[in-house]
């Protein structure tokens, strides 16, 4: 599938006399294919928003290459700007204008037909509140307006930074449905979010960034599979049988970790072999459960941002990656 967004070796360094240089982006790579809903994940301060701002011409990169819809940016940004709808970070609008005025002015600036304003207001559920001033809106309503402004151009690529921020549960579900519908209509959606459950539900593929570098990318299923531990939890009919089971499994070359009422096994190819082995020793299984990983656990593992009791993790304390060949990377290089 052709790529609508390509980033290679993107670098951005912020220099401060007091604090020295800080690499916000440290050779970051990314590829989003046409028609996908692509999740863009990373801890706070990892470089997500810097990436999006750089891509959209708001920040000047210090190095690297970027392309949108096949055009090199920022040089050709004017050419592709009409086909890229974006909201970056929290929605910001002039508070004294109504939503309709806000969109109407953007439509005027972008030479979009005025009729499109009503369409996107309907789409994001603001039709009946469109003539109220933005300052009276809740965060969720502003978020809807931001999505409406991004959709106004009927873009080929939609970039949304935390679109579910402030939305009520119904709104989140509507947003999910909207993303799916847009993707089905052929629009490519790049979605940055911290609601990992949503990302797992909505997205076809993901990129995970940590400290300005890509630490994982690819289809969601593949990323999960790559980080699946293959662990299996076993419970027996009698807790007193656990030591005998441990001995039998260890002899068979399976890694065993004992717990008061169950065992955790690693290195199990087929869970059925565990049942058979234990049955041969007259040990009967009451529960045999492969431990599934979700995107949240993969994210926490890759970025080393899982909370540790008694510790207060600071913003920049996340995964330090070593570049090519790093663990947790499911692919490598430009758009691989």
């Amino acid at each position: 599938m052709p790529a609508v967004l390509e980033i290679e070796g993107l670098r951005k360094t912020y220099k401060s006399r007091r604090r020295g240089a800080r690499n916000a982006l440290d050779g970051f790579d990314m590829r989003v294919e046409a028609g996908q809903v692509h999740g863009f994940l990373g801890p706070n301060g990892s470089g997500k928003t810097t990436t999006l701002r750089t891509l959209l011409g708001l920040i000047r990169p210090d190095g690297g290459r970027m392309a949108l819809l096949g055009h090199e940016v920022p040089d050709a940004l004017s050419t592709v700007a009409g086909q890229v709808g974006a909201i970056v970070e929290s929605p910001q609008f002039f508070p004294h204008f109504t939503a309709r005025d806000t969109l109407s002015l953007l439509a005027g600036a972008g030479e979009v037909p005025a009729v499109r304003v009503g369409e996107v207001l309907e789409l994001v559920g603001l039709r009946d509140r469109a003539d109220e001033r933005v300052k009276t809106y809740s965060l969720g309503m502003k978020q809807r307006l931001a999505v409406a402004s991004a959709l106004l151009k009927n873009p080929k690529l939609l970039i949304l930074d935390e679109p579910a921020n402030g939305l009520d549960p119904g709104g989140i579900r509507e947003m999910r449905s909207l993303m799916r519908d847009l993707a089905e209509s052929g629009m490519t959606v790049l979605l940055s979010s911290h609601i990992l459950g949503e990302i797992q539900l909505i997205c076809d593929s993901v990129t995970i960034i940590s400290l300005g570098r890509r630490v994982a990318f690819g289809p969601v299923d593949e990323v999960l599979a790559q980080h699946s531990s293959g662990a299996v939890r076993v419970r027996l009919e009698a807790v007193s049988d656990l030591p005998a089971a441990t001995e039998a499994l260890t002899k068979a070359g399976i890694g065993v970790t004992g717990h008061p009422d169950h065992l955790m096994l690693t290195g199990v190819d087929k869970p059925a072999s565990v049942t058979r082995l234990l049955a041969e020793h007259n040990l009967y299984v009451s529960e045999l459960a492969p431990i599934a990983v979700d995107l949240e656990s993969v994210f926490l593992e890759l970025t080393s941002t899982a909370p540790v009791p008694g510790q207060h993790r600071q913003v920049d304390e996340s995964m330090k990656v070593g570049g090519a060949g790093q663990p947790g990377t499911t692919g490598g290089g430009w758009g691989a």
Binding site: A81, V88, F93, L105, K153
Partner: protein, 338 residues
């Protein structure tokens, strides 16, 4: 062109623009109305009344003078110490002659269009320049601080084009207000002069001079509008322009004025911006050095003078616009938008 029209729409939709413009126009209207009600047409009746008042004043002066001379002589005869209240020779206390009290002093104020109108163009330009500065600063400053500028740049990524189009829309808007206001200002004061003064001796040369002063006033409005816009864009906040102008006025003008005065610097006013603004409007400001003496043929001292001309002011205004707007454009091009 669509961006220009959109920005013009944005400018006129903003409440701050509407309220500030309305406020400025109301102040201008108040000036015209105030001048109308504080002036009168002078005819035979007013001259006669002034003569009567001058006579009355003369009588009062004679009466008071005689009374005081009598008191002086009385005090002198009694040997009362006068503590410098009276002269040694009471006969020097004389009433003024009748011709020393001019009837013209008692004439009501009248608006002579030829003599006075060009002075009214100074407050006209000053008020609209203030409106332009504040509206210009707010127009771009609010866009920066509320994120509107970032939204717009996502649609129109050419930064300099966006900034200059906004400025063009702003200046067009200000011109659209200033030009009709100037026409109304001319008409208003013509009406004041017609009903409360005189429109006599208006030659084509006088009209030409007034129109040129008016044009310089419009240019001043546009220059200050541009400076307000550029300062707010430079600081990405309306407060940058407002704070900047307060800093310049308080520190740069009052502070500098006091410092120059204390240091006894010659031509201190030549270092102050309002002098150049006034010179721009009045064509020439003549500064006088009262500590110097140029002897004249009749033996009197005349202070040395220094002329500040509108040409010098134009250089200063141009340089200010080039530096501030140039800096705003450079920053717009180079700085990250976050």
């Amino acid at each position: 062109m669509s961006l220009f029209r959109t920005e013009l729409r944005r400018l006129t939709k903003r409440r701050f623009t509407r309220y500030m413009t309305l406020l400025g126009l109301l102040v201008l209207a108040a000036v015209v109305i105030g001048v109308f009600f504080t002036n009168q047409k002078i005819g035979a009746e007013q001259y006669a009344k002034a003569e009567r008042q001058a006579d009355q004043q003369y009588q009062d002066q004679v009466r008071w003078s005689e009374q005081e001379r009598a008191n002086c002589e009385q005090a002198k005869a009694a040997g009362t110490p006068n503590d410098g209240r009276y002269p040694d020779d009471c006969s020097v206390m004389q009433a003024p002659t009748r011709d020393q009290i001019e009837a013209s002093w008692f004439l009501p104020s009248t608006f002579d269009f030829r003599d006075t109108f060009d002075e009214t163009l100074i407050p006209f330009a000053a008020i609209l320049a203030l409106v332009g500065f504040v509206v210009g600063a707010s127009f771009i400053g609010a866009e920066w601080s509320t994120g509107g500028m970032m939204n717009l740049l996502l649609w129109r990524p050419k930064r300099l084009t966006v900034l200059l189009t906004k400025l063009a829309a702003l200046l067009t808007g200000m011109l659209a207000v200033t030009l009709p206001a100037a026409v109304l200002w001319f008409a208003g004061f013509w009406g004041v002069a017609t009903f409360r003064g005189s429109t006599e001796k208006m030659t084509s040369g006088v009209w030409q001079s007034f129109v040129l002063t008016g044009v310089r006033g419009v240019v001043l409005v546009l220059v200050l509008t541009t400076i307000g816009f550029a300062l707010a864009s430079l600081g990405r906040h309306t407060a940058m322009a407002l704070g900047g102008v307060v800093a310049v006025m308080v520190v740069g003008q009052f502070g500098l004025g006091i410092l120059l005065d204390m240091a006894g610097v010659r031509w201190a006013e030549a270092f102050l911006l309002p002098t150049y603004m006034l010179a721009w409007m009045t064509k020439t400001i003549t500064l006088q050095d009262w500590d110097s003496c140029n002897a004249t043929f009749n033996g009197s001292c005349e202070p040395e003078t220094l002329d500040i001309t509108w040409q010098q002011s134009s250089v200063l205004l141009s340089a200010t616009v080039v530096v501030i707007l140039g800096a705003a454009l450079w920053v717009m091009r180079r700085r990250d938008i976050s």
